[in-house]
Symmetry: C2
Subunit: 338 residues, 2 copies
DNA sequence: TTGTAAGCGTTATCAA
DNA sequence: TTGATAACGCTTACAA
């Protein structure tokens, strides 16, 4: 019962009294097979619950699997969900199936997941790198013609196609927006500083401050990698003797956390601009001003890069930067409390 | 360049001057290999960028792949992201890798994704069924010993393990809560009625009404499968001559949409209870009362069922119901406007 | 219209 | 400690 071996083509063939090759023909709808034989084979396949072994097929054919592997850092972050949706919509018409795994934001998780995909001979590989991962070992795969595209964050120690948001410019514009509304004590709440997106957005923050002649105050730079951490950061930022009058939250979790923190403090006088939009942004009070990323477009761009490579594009690695968009809703336009 | 063949064990072996079997021993850290041979093999592997072909290995070993396949309807829904996270946390310690694909809520997408997983000989299969899918064809796989667990929604035409939320009872308690606060015109905004979860939650809604002696008014039952559809539904519900004084939103998208709709109408006098919690629920005004699902627990329970099967549990199919929890925050306690 | 032989990349078995 | 041979399930090339 438990050792019930799975039916193979030979099993089906024996059942019907033909050869495996004939079953193969029926399965692949290829070559000439008499209607009667075909019917008998189909019947036996159904009766035995035959499922072709794609591993064996792919091995023989030498063809790659019709699967695209995607490595993301976190299944729970809707940003990556939307990115994945964008990819899927683009590769599906081509008959490719997207399979997603999570690295849990660790280099080891990422390495082992990539290995899993490579060992299964995916048609192409999409990776959102986790901090500190090294992509140098992938050079052989790339040389062997495997399309590899990095998303959201660039590869480390490897030149390859890459799609990212306009992080620096987007952050700059968001912070400049706060400055334009009179703020000079603007806090930055972001991920761990090892992350590429955090570094870029932090640079944009510095660019905006510099342009306005505002010195960087390290005391206003906080880390909030999840909701509660960001909420706690806000409490600290506002408890200072010289508190922040505005906050730039550098990702969706940070923005959510800052909103939570401010609400718990019953503070409605602190300006806020978030990076990445939230579904409920417009109903918050005040409504949340954000630098919106086009996450679906990021996925789509990556998928298109990938498919161009599959179609034989051998040009050098490209980096696509997807623009962001400032959405003004209220929270970013409040003046500083004097 | 483009046809660069991938290095095989034989390639590595030839390079070093040994046999494929020796390389195999090194790769699998099995059997006796001299330290020197091992070093030379490892060096050659690295130089050639050798990646073992798992398809070939699995085929030979006859072993199942160390992969668990998960089919979800929608990558963009954070509920499924959290469920996936719960599964991953439970199967990873066992050395299993979770691979996720999206059916886009279509029976065909689900069928083809399941086929993809079966053809790749996953160790186990996890499925969130889409509406109208038929799982009868999976009976042979189940008989062959493949653990199959359904999540969030039960299988159709197949008896199998299943993990669901206490949908009916949860919805009943949410609606009863509104009734306890004086409401009698309570609207229901949910998914398409073909969906299991929608049907169950609707039953819970009816149960609560019946218990209170309130007749069901079909005019108060609306469909809102995404944010905007739910927002539009609210507008209709409140525009009636005999409008709803409270709304029960039967899933997270519907709840978000209802909140959006109410905010756009500037209506703060309509009571609301949502099914499934939202990250920003506590900061809404009024804060959102919800029937919270434990999505991570659903994933974990499914993973545990699955692993028990892998460990040889042959008992009959079980259905696990994960309890929900009413979280009172304000929106559900508002009295009806007279 | 169907069958035979060989081989894809790996590992089990047994021998050296 | 290492190698030769066969086999996993399937498809290609060729023959019947």
């Amino acid at each position: 019962m438990s050792k019930a071996r799975r039916a193979t083509m030979s099993d089906v063939a024996r059942e019907v009294g033909v050869t495996a090759k004939t079953v193969s023909r029926v399965v692949n709808g290829e070559g000439p097979v008499s209607a009667e034989t075909r019917a008998r084979v189909l019947e036996a396949m159904d009766r035995l619950g035959f499922q072709p072994n794609l591993m064996a097929r792919n091995m023989r054919v030498g063809a790659r699997d019709s699967t695209v592997g995607l490595v993301i850092p976190d299944m729970g972050n809707p940003f990556f969900g939307t990115v994945a949706g964008g990819i899927e919509g683009a590769v599906r018409p081509r008959g490719l199936t997207l399979l997603v795994g999570s690295s849990e934001e660790t280099a080891e998780g990422e390495r082992s997941l990539i290995s899993t995909f490579l060992a299964r001979r995916v048609t192409a590989l999409l990776v959102v790198p986790s901090a500190d991962s090294d992509h140098h070992p992938l050079r052989a795969e790339r040389a062997a013609g495997l399309p590899i595209v990095f998303l959201d964050r660039p590869p480390n120690r490897l030149t390859a196609d890459c799609v990212v948001s306009a992080n620096r410019e987007g952050a700059r514009s968001g912070v400049a927006h706060l400055i334009a509304h009179g703020h000079r004590r603007i806090a930055f709440v972001g991920d761990l500083s090892t992350l590429y997106t955090r570094r870029e957005r932090f640079q944009g923050y510095r660019d905006a401050l510099a342009k306005a002649g505002i010195p960087l105050d390290r005391a206003l730079v906080e880390t909030g990698h999840d909701h509660e951490a960001a909420a706690a950061a806000v409490v600290r930022l506002l408890a200072r003797k010289d508190p922040a009058t505005a906050v730039f939250a550098a990702n969706n979790f940070a923005a959510t956390g800052v909103v939570l923190g401010l609400a718990r403090l019953r503070r409605r006088d602190v300006a806020l601009v978030g990076f990445d939009d939230l579904p409920l942004a417009e109903v918050l009070e005040p409504a949340l001003t954000v630098v919106a990323q086009d996450s679906a477009a990021i996925g789509k761009a990556a998928a298109e890069l990938l498919m161009a490579r599959l179609d034989g594009d051998r040009s050098r690695a490209r980096t696509v930067e997807v623009p962001t968009r400032l959405i003004v809703r209220g929270s970013g336009e409040m003046p500083p409390t004097v």
